[in-house]
């Protein structure tokens, strides 16, 4: 029983409860029906409605004394034939719509029991329409007709019900309240077993429905403005308006109410109305009409006038008209309470307004729209698309009918391709939840079955990569009218620039721009872009480590697209495919970027990343876009043969970290795995030699290749929490990037290999695999171990051993950072690391507390590596080369 039961006696409550219970049972049983079962019932119902269209129209006219018999019969036919035509092939049971390419299926779930309130103006047609919708969607309906149209509605329900049950619908699927009161409706509206209230009627009914706290479709009054613009086909406009406004004596709430006519055509339009049977009221007649058919107390139409003939209204008002007058037309000078006829009039009385301009006409239409017509219907007659567009922009109406009758147009399916309906959703402007023509889909709960989808992935690398000793010779293949070499002072000094110049095609004009070997500042970028512009360069050769190559990438971007806003382009993103800020595609200059790396770590020659600073503004800008990737990469070990030991170690570990993080990244793919694994293998095999014997050409070459291959992997799979921590720690304590990575690495491997506190959402992975990937790496390195745990332990140990071999400090403490200083820095370090986008591809989502713990682990330092040594010695002979 509803919580706040209205004043009903027990007997009445029991009767209403029985109705609801019966409907609930029917609705429950109905859930077992298939689409075919339902469709088998709907068609005979439609046929029965069509057969009885005239009979039901007559009953409605006799009972309500509203409207026109012939028009009511047509409405009954539209409610059956047109609605059937729309719903017959629609799926409303089970899977109703499928989007295989998106992995989505929509499945229908009936609502259950619907309480349907029907109006006096369109009584039987509304019942027929709602019965067909309910059966099509497997719902039960309790009808509560307007008391003034109860008998005809009950008969319509009976016809529909008997036909439905005869063809298999569950008993009790429709019931119709006999004589009933407002209290009955209130009781039912609040009843727990009513799933939806579908209220078609006056403002009171709609408000009650929406106030009940139940989901409701409340479809109420309108006030349709019509604009007849001077370019319109006037004959068509006048006939359409008369057809619509006189249809069922104007009882459809979408019918025309105030016609706003351009000054230039105003007289002609009125003449045409008069010629087709309308009476044009003079000033005193209009005033009298307004006083009589509109209640001066409320400002609303007099109910007694609803659906009456024009001649009858004229007689009642005391206006002398010709016997077959179809329509009374009353000029008005404005909209609002002082202009009574500017409101809704569900009878054949039309207000007209002469507008001096399009602007004025649109404003008057807006006024009418806001005088009780928000969200409902509006009509425009025009052959000017700009006028139609402007009208549709300024008028708030669920249906904007163009060059056709408002009432019949709004019903849909006759003059246009809108969904046929007898319920017009009026949107929030009308206090409704929809602006749609209410249809079967509003009688369904639609469930979305969303299958797991794998997002498309990618693997992007520079167009050309030249590698191995003397690969620089390939510069001969790149003719240029003007080349700018960007490098740093040391490289120029040791003769690397000369080597590059030697292999450029003869007569290539070459200029050199020397930049510092530190993270590029915006000033350096601007100078570089000025040089590129001055020399009209069509080729940029970046010769250096990560900083130089990054500088060249950004210079190229600004040279080609000067409007590029670097700060905006650095806006963080979660998924590169969905990023908000797009890199420029329009270029005023074009230059080929050839990157020649002189360190074996960052891999910047193949990555889509670049970092710069703006020291003056204290900004660090990280750019990421595949358009930044160099066009050509040259990986020639002759440029790294003289790298100092410390740099060899730090960059080598940076390379290993890239490969390990790409290997376990949530964006890892078979494409990136192949690169990551190969890079890891090369690092373990060749880094110690490159470190101990810098002139070993093979080791240098393989480490140079490893750095490039690892960069290819992380360019496409990204890095992880190790980089997030290293960025934060390195920046705070001025520790080189590679070294900072090294201090974190063993701890991060162990961390990622354990069961996560929080899993990272990763649709492309079926399960948590980081520990298995580490075990796979251990196998690749031939470390042995019987279980995944053992293999991971051995990988950690062998990594520690490698770090020891490279003389990497064992702990942050060894760097001379005191515990107190570190403790003080910890909150900021954890916060900065958490803000770093690097970890977003980490297999395990780090909690801030876990970042703190990892930092402390790095501070305390790594183990002694004995276990790894043992494992490595034991398996030395079994090492597999891949």
């Amino acid at each position: 029983m509803p919580k706040s039961a209205p004043s009903l006696d027990e007997e009445r409550i029991a009767a209403l409860e029985k109705l609801v219970s019966q409907a609930r049972t029917a609705a429950a049983v109905f859930t077992q029906y298939s689409q075919e079962d339902v469709d088998r019932i709907v068609k005979p119902m439609v046929l029965a409605g069509l057969k009885q269209a005239q009979y039901l129209a007559r009953l409605a006219i006799e009972e309500t004394k509203i409207g026109v018999l012939e028009d009511k019969a047509i409405k009954n036919m539209v409610a059956t034939e047109f609605v059937y035509n729309y719903v017959k092939d629609k799926r409303t049971v089970g899977a109703i719509r499928e989007f295989p390419e998106r992995g989505l299926v929509e499945v229908a779930e009936p609502i259950g029991v619907i309480l349907s309130l029907t109006p006096i103006t369109n009584p039987t047609s509304t019942v027929l329409f709602k019965c067909i919708m309910a059966i099509k969607t497997r719902n039960a309906v309790i009808f509560s007709p307007h008391p003034g149209a109860w008998r005809c509605c009950a008969e319509a329900v009976r016809i529909m019900y008997e036909t439905a049950v005869e063809h298999g619908a569950p008993e009790g699927v429709f019931t119709c309240l006999e004589s009933h009161t407002l209290e009955d409706n209130t009781f039912l509206m609040q009843h727990k077993d009513i799933g939806l209230i579908d209220a078609t009627g006056g403002p009171g009914v709609v408000k009650a429905a929406y106030s009940s706290g139940k989901p409701a479709l409340g479809v109420g009054p309108g006030n349709t403005p019509v604009y007849v613009e001077k370019s319109a086909d006037l004959d068509m406009a006048v006939v359409d308006i008369i057809t619509s406004k006189t249809f069922d004596n104007g009882t459809i709430c979408a019918s025309e109410q105030t016609v706003v006519i351009d000054d230039e055509i105003y007289d002609r339009v009125l003449q045409k109305f008069a010629g087709l049977g309308a009476h044009i009221c003079n000033e005193s007649e209009a005033e009298l009409l307004g006083r009589t058919v509109i209640d001066p107390a409320t400002g609303f139409m007099q109910p007694t006038a609803v659906g009456q003939k024009a001649s009858r209204i004229a007689r009642f008002v005391g206006i002398s008209v010709k016997p077959k007058t179809k329509l009374l037309i009353a000029p008005i000078q404005g909209v609002g309470r002082e202009h009574p006829l500017s409101v809704e009039k569900l009878f054949p009385v039309l207000a007209v307004y002469r507008a001096k301009s399009v602007d004025e006409a649109l404003k008057v239409c807006v006024d009418v729209n806001h005088s009780g017509g928000l969200g409902h219907t509006a009509v425009v007659f025009s052959n000017n698309d700009d006028v139609i567009q402007k009208f549709s922009e300024v008028i708030n109406a669920g249906r904007i009918i163009v060059n056709s009758p408002g009432s019949i147009g709004a019903l849909g399916g006759v003059y246009n391709d809108m969904v046929p309906t007898f319920s017009f959703g009026c949107g929030t402007g009308g206090g409704n939840s929809t602006t749609d023509n209410v249809n079967v889909y509003h009688y369904l709960n639609i469930k979305r079955v969303a299958r797991r989808t794998q997002s498309h992935m990618w693997f992007r690398v520079p167009n050309q990569i030249y590698f191995n000793m003397n690969a620089v010779e390939n510069l001969r293949n790149f003719p240029s009218r003007s080349t700018l070499i960007i490098t740093n002072p040391a490289l120029e000094q040791i003769g690397h620039v000369d080597i590059v110049r030697r292999y450029l095609p003869p007569q290539t004009p070459v200029r050199i721009s020397v930049v510092p070997d530190t993270e590029p500042d915006i000033k350096i970028i601007i100078q570089g872009v000025e040089a590129l512009n001055f020399y009209k360069a069509d080729q940029i050769i970046a010769l250096g480590g990560g900083s130089v190559i990054d500088a060249a990438k950004i210079m190229k971007l600004k040279y080609e697209s000067p409007e590029a806003d670097l700060e905006e382009l650095a806006t963080p993103f979660l998924d590169i495919r969905k990023r908000v800020v797009q890199y420029p595609t329009e270029k005023i200059n074009q230059a080929r970027l050839i990157a020649i790396s002189t360190t074996s770590g960052t891999g910047s020659e193949v990555t889509p990343f670049a970092v710069m600073t703006d020291k003056q503004r204290g900004l660090k800008v990280t750019l990421a876009d595949y358009s930044l990737t160099p066009d050509v990469a040259i990986v020639d070990p002759q440029f790294v043969m003289s790298m100092p030991k410390g740099l060899t170690a730090d960059t080598g570990i940076d390379c290993l970290t890239h490969a390990l993080e790409a290997g376990v990244s949530i964006f890892a793919s078979p494409y990136t795995d192949s690169n990551a694994m190969q890079a890891i293998r090369l690092v373990f095999r060749y880094l110690p030699t490159a470190y101990e014997h810098p002139q070993n050409e093979e080791a240098r070459n393989m480490m140079h290749n490893a750095a490039c291959i690892a960069a290819i992997a992380f360019s496409n799979a990204s890095v992880g929490v190790n980089h997030a921590l290293a960025h934060a720690f390195g920046a705070r304590f001025g520790v080189a990037h590679g070294r900072a990575n090294a201090l974190m690495l063993p701890h991060v491997i162990a961390y990622n290999a354990s069961v996560p506190t929080k899993f990272m959402p990763s649709p492309n992975q079926r399960a948590y695999v980081a520990h298995k990937k580490y075990a796979m790496i251990a196998d690749l390195l031939g470390l042995g171990g019987g279980t995944i745990e053992e293999k991971v332990q051995r990988l950690v140990a062998v990594t520690e051993q490698l770090l020891d071999q490279l003389n990497v400090p064992r702990s942050i403490a060894e760097l001379g950072i005191s515990k107190e200083e570190f403790e003080q820095a910890i909150p900021d370090l954890a916060k900065t690391a958490f803000d770093d986008p690097s970890w977003r591809s980490n297999p395990r989502m780090p909690l801030v507390s876990e970042l703190v713990e990892l930092l402390w682990s790095a501070y305390r330092g790594r183990g002694d590596g004995k276990a790894a040594s043992a494992a490595r010695e034991k398996k030395a002979d079994e090492t597999v080369c891949v």
């Binding site: 019966q22 609930r24 049972t25 859930t31 008993e171």
Partner: protein, 92 residues
């Protein structure tokens, strides 16, 4: 000590109401437990729900158990919507 065996009734698709009524009779006659085998029933009608309501009332009065066996999920959903799952025990 004596043990009363449950009354076992197979429900046919076309005779659901009759089977439910028969089960009600068994309860009136003092059956301690009634098991209705629904495995051959694919769909039920409103009349069957009415009969089930009556059977549930009878069982409650007698403080006895009615077990429904092999009810398919479509019918189970109907019983759920009609709030008729609580009075019965369901077994597969």
């Amino acid at each position: 000590m004596t043990t009363t065996l449950p009354v076992w009734l197979k429900v046919d698709e076309g005779r659901v109401v009759e089977a439910l009524q028969e089960a009600g009779q068994k309860l009136v006659q003092g059956a301690g437990e009634v098991v209705l085998d629904f495995s051959a029933v694919h769909r039920i009608a409103p009349s069957a729900l009415l009969a089930m309501e009556e059977l549930a009332d009878r069982a409650a009065k007698n403080a006895t158990k009615v077990v429904l066996r092999g009810v398919n999920v479509d019918i189970y959903k109907v019983l759920k919507l009609a709030r008729l799952t609580a009075p019965f025990l369901f077994v597969d």
